[in-house]
């Protein structure tokens, strides 16, 4: 039995226009994500995967971005044609997003706690006491050690892994039904990456939210994704369950990508 898709992208086209050039970054893609599942969108730089992720919340700057065709349906509603006010209600509440570099998305001049509180204030969640409660709840959910101390710290005082946990807490506070994670572990050490990926798996099991994960790293895909879509030059060349795509790839580009991905060799080097 298949549940109704949480997120459904149909024939999406995204074009970027500048004075000198016009680039069709995404040239007609179809994606479906079910609730409680993780879908990984994999591709190299220039494949269009980030533009796709940003388009869900219409975060691509317009201009130069335009959407000449296609729909992005969240729980049945097309987000691309939603008026700004309604879109703002969806952003950060029903759909949350985490990015690659927390130092870029966190305000370095304010404590972590005040930024978390601010997010809820913007969404007018409860009163101050309620917000504080939710904040600590989220920090615990994100397995942030000593949350009361962390809340009073500034971003630069935290390690990369902790900052990413804070970002996840920020995303979780509003109890989103969909989390979009754009290269969430690319800037992290290997051991920290393993922790964060583990956390993502746990969070999904605990909250039942859907996760759209953008990455260039097949190892990350193998670690957390139920299904995956391989993107190249603006189109999806292959998609299916993670196991199927890894073990029985049908597309040449997918095969190339799999072959090129470094694997730990315990035998003698070539």
């Amino acid at each position: 039995m298949t549940a109704a898709p949480l997120l459904e992208i149909s024939d999406l086209h995204i074009t970027f226009s500048s004075r000198h050039a016009e680039v069709a970054a995404v040239r007609g893609i179809d994606l479906a994500l079910e609730p409680g599942r993780t879908l990984a969108l994999v591709g190299e730089s220039g494949s269009g995967k980030s533009s796709t992720a940003l388009s869900v919340l219409r975060l691509n700057p317009e201009p130069p971005a335009t959407y000449p065709h296609g729909q992005v349906r969240f729980e049945g509603t097309d987000l691309l044609s939603l008026p700004a006010a309604q879109l703002r209600a969806v952003r950060g509440r029903d759909i949350a997003m985490v990015f690659q570099d927390p130092m870029a998305t966190l305000n370095p001049l304010r404590t972590v706690g005040s930024q978390l509180m601010e997010v809820m204030r913007i969404h007018r969640t409860g009163d101050r006491a309620e917000r504080r409660r939710r904040m600590f709840e989220a920090l615990e959910q994100a397995r942030v050690p000593e949350p009361s101390q962390r809340a009073d710290q500034y971003p630069h005082q935290l390690s990369g892994g902790l900052r990413q946990r804070v970002m996840l807490a920020m995303a979780l506070m509003s109890r989103p039904r969909l989390l979009i994670a754009d290269e969430p572990t690319t800037a992290l050490d290997v051991t920290t990456q393993a922790e964060i990926l583990d956390l993502l798996r746990t969070l999904q099991a605990e909250t039942g939210m859907g996760v759209l994960l953008i990455t260039h790293d097949l190892g990350v895909v193998a670690s957390v994704a139920d299904s995956m879509a391989v993107m190249h030059d603006g189109v999806i060349v292959e998609q299916g369950s993670t196991l199927d795509v890894f073990e029985r790839p049908t597309d040449d580009y997918t095969r190339q990508l799999l072959a090129a991905t470094p694997r730990l060799e315990i035998g003698a080097p070539a």
Partner: protein
Amino acid sequence: MSTHETADPVLSLRGIGKTFRRHRTEKRVLSDIDLDVRPGETLALVGESGSGKTTLARIAVGLAEPTEGEVLTAGEDLRTGRRRASAQQARMVQMVFQDPYASMNPRMRIRDVVAEGLLTHRRSELGLDGIRAEVARLLDAVDLDPDLARRFPHECSGGQRQRIAIARALALEPRLLVLDEPTSALDVSVQATILDLLRQLQERTGVAYLFVSHDLAVVSGIADRVAVMADGRIAEIGRCREVLSAPSSEVTRRLLASIAHPDPRRANPALAAGADR
């Protein structure tokens, strides 16, 4: 790939320590580092951020001065105490940087980028015509179209730029090439071709590599020996195969356990188990 264990090491680091002093705070970044790179071998320096591997690489190449210890290049201490390498040093050790976008002067054409070292040190030997020919030969050796010579760096892709960086580094025929995460900023499909190129070049020229990386999978495919670093010290060093299959230090074990294998059955056993049901 042969390692001449009896010949003089290309690079010898003895008792290296480094402390950074800023205002009134001190940070101990490296302690008690003893390391040799043997002729023609690939020695990988592995560690997480903060392990000191990048600082050590910079000391090896002369961009940083150790607080204690000595750096011997082919048995001699060539340090000048200044940032700028001496002619002797430049012809022994060269570097390939991580970021192919930042490691090239955006205003210089590719042919000038590659020729710079030649003009500085081999001009009397080659003459201007000889330099031009050598630039073409180097670009060919890294599998680049000679037409690229008149372009600017921003007109080239990341993979091309890294090849140019390698060509530039090899222009002075160094015995040791220090590579600081040379493929981390590149797409996976390009990474593999660069690593292949590095292997070929080593076979042809016998140059040794000090290969800094955080990626054990990459390292396992290219290194003869590996030194695992943590907290400014070498936690473990030995033949790659041995260290990775039977690690003796906790650091190495933790690194190995954290690898995200591109294999769902290994990386996400719960998923695989569920699917097979």
